[in-house]
Symmetry: C2
DNA sequence: TTGTAAGCGTTATCAC
DNA sequence: GTGATAACGCTTACAA
């Protein structure tokens, strides 16, 4: 459109050529600068403004984000690095992020950083090729520390969600300790005395906080802590541990359970299990169901997260609610403030958690069945 | 870095200034053009190539995607317009899309188009501001027809996933008809004779296909079709219908059930329910559970989708599996071929569905309980 | 208030 | 093979 030959050349592969600022300037009989001023709300004589506006409307003009970004050095786009897509936990976080971003006209470049993939390459791409103005990183892990530090050193806007690492970056987290205390006290108040925690992977700091909260509540009540570690937060990990527990129950102590196994140190089985994620809890419940063990009659289960499924499955899962959507929104909001330069400090926002009591937890009754 | 004053000016807000192609050229003692050639694998004398390569390494140079995009007129980014984030269905689709894209070095700009939002604004933004090279649109709806047609008219690369509309664009769908036939036949083969289908919203074409498949199988068996329509594919919608069914069961026919209600025409209740989505099925099962009605003893349930939960919940949900991840990947692959111009034709890819039998479906036994 | 012109970091078209 | 130089579409001093 800028020139005839150009227009002609491209007509073959894209019918409606996009109007540029020059086209508008030409049509309105003003300079590009003036069009730009109208575009950016800078002072322009009323009459000129209208003239330009009409030209823009007529040509269906929309500014080219690339060109604008090139001069402005920003893309109005932030990157989000989720660990997985098919997740009831990150879904609502993305939701919160997206709505906060959309309100400010920002777009979301989503990347999934699996465990195995070269995560560093992703970071480099994000920053060095400058496609984005800032990054949102849910559930940062040990391996992320180095690249995140590098970003922080470059004054590159980064906000962590659901996790913190040892770097000067802002983060939105929840009170894992308090959530665990609440959950554990709930089980204690129901009358349970053998309460185990099924913790998440040990390389995540929040795992420790949850174990700490649990331990605090347990010791407060004069009980014995019993900590099991899972390899991940998934349903499969929960199911695996539950299977081990059941296998130990039916087999003799002479069964080929290797030493160092979580089972070696556990003469009696718990009557209540506090799982560090709803997914794990669901995995556990599946195994229990298949074994004919009833929840909550035989064993009480409490989860953590309050994902959508928690209220959907039966029995409904008693759990510690995380305000996932709010976490995403708050993280995005902070990131935008960082990007705009309106606020440079490091923020650590701790959101509260709430216990949601449903049907999966109850008084210990037929516990004998499990702890024979 | 390009000039001293520039560098100084920016040092305050970003420590490590990014090297440009000019910097590399300067350091290597060649012209920008040569550096560009090295970058793009164009013929360059071996010696020069190494010189440039060393300079790039030393400066930690990475090409600026914005500038490159400005000249090349592409962003190596495609847009994905999901209806919702917190969804066990779109999660795997995004997964498939992302991995196909990542393999080709493309990024994913994800936007969520809720029902109420001004979807058109999103489309305009995507195309007119040219931030993306193509668009992937899962589950297109009636309201999307117009903007999608506009995109197609502009020869803008678009691929639909899990749905089709009346426009010359490529799409990846599944064989909804066959899936429904399989599910229904399964229930028939178990011995059910009163089988209802809980269909999704009527404004989605695949709803009709599923109803058609159901009807075909039902009539084949000489049975009477019984179609219920839900407002959406969500668990809540499923639960709502199930509640209505139960309310009708306990109340007399004189109960204040308005005429036109789905219940008015149903003297006896079904012994099997084929739900058009797993989410709906889960909602239904929740209501049944709360009412003390057993699945599959009292009523058999079959879903559609095979979302992750289907295998996780208990009883496990018998369902029609959709290859969601594959759908995403296939859609993305086609889009990339469109973008690269390597293939211009409209493709319609129909993927097959498979019945996955789990525990939620069984022979009709205590059906009397429901149909008293 | 408005126009001119110089960037932004690339790629592409020429010459040499 | 390689080097000037002109785009690409926008913003922004600086002038007028």
């Amino acid at each position: 459109m800028a020139s005839l030959s150009y227009r002609f050349h491209h007509r073959y592969w894209r019918l409606s050529e996009l109007a540029t600022i020059s086209d508008v300037a030409l049509a309105a009989g003003v300079s590009k600068a003036t069009v730009s001023r109208v575009l950016n709300g800078l002072p322009v004589r009323r009459e000129t403004h209208d003239k330009v506006q009409r030209a823009m409307d007529k040509l269906g003009y929309h500014p080219n984000a690339q060109a604008r970004g090139l001069t402005l050095k920003r893309t109005n786009t932030v990157g989000v690095l989720v660990p997985e897509f098919d997740s009831p936990f990150y879904g609502p976080i993305l939701d919160g992020v997206h709505s906060a971003l959309a309100r400010s006209g920002y777009q979301m470049l989503v990347s999934c950083v699996g465990q195995n993939i070269t995560r560093k390459a992703t970071y480099v791409q994000l920053l060095r090729e400058r496609k984005i103005d800032g990054a949102l990183i849910p559930t940062p892990r040990e391996v992320d520390v180095e690249p995140i530090r590098a970003l922080a050193d470059d004054r590159f806007p980064v906000v962590l969600i659901d996790g913190m690492i040892d770097a000067p970056v802002s983060s939105v987290v929840i009170d894992n300790f308090d959530g665990s205390v609440q959950a554990t006290r709930h089980l204690i108040s129901l009358g349970h005395s053998r309460i185990a925690i099924l913790s998440g992977p040990a390389d995540l700091p929040e795992s420790h906080d949850r174990v700490r909260g649990y331990t605090r509540a347990i010791q407060e009540a004069g009980l014995e802590p019993d900590v099991l570690y899972a390899a991940g937060y998934s349903a499969e990990c929960g199911a695996a541990i539950a299977s081990q527990l059941l296998a130990a129950r039916s087999g003799s102590s002479a069964s080929p359970v290797a030493q160092g196994s979580i089972l070696a140190i556990r003469p009696k089985l718990p009557t209540a299990l506090f799982c560090a994620s709803d997914n794990m809890a669901i995995g556990v419940m599946r195994v229990l169901y298949d074994a004919g063990i009833r929840v909550p009659e035989d064993v009480s289960i409490v989860g953590f997260d309050d994902v959508r499924d928690a209220s959907l499955i039966r029995p409904g899962l008693t759990t510690v609610r995380q305000p996932t959507q709010e976490m995403g929104a708050a993280g995005a909001a902070k990131l935008l403030r960082l990007v705009s330069g309106e606020e440079m400090g490091v923020m650590k926002l701790v959101l509260r958690t709430d216990l949601v009591v449903r049907q999966s937890s109850g008084r210990p009754r037929g516990a004998a069945r499990l702890s024979e």
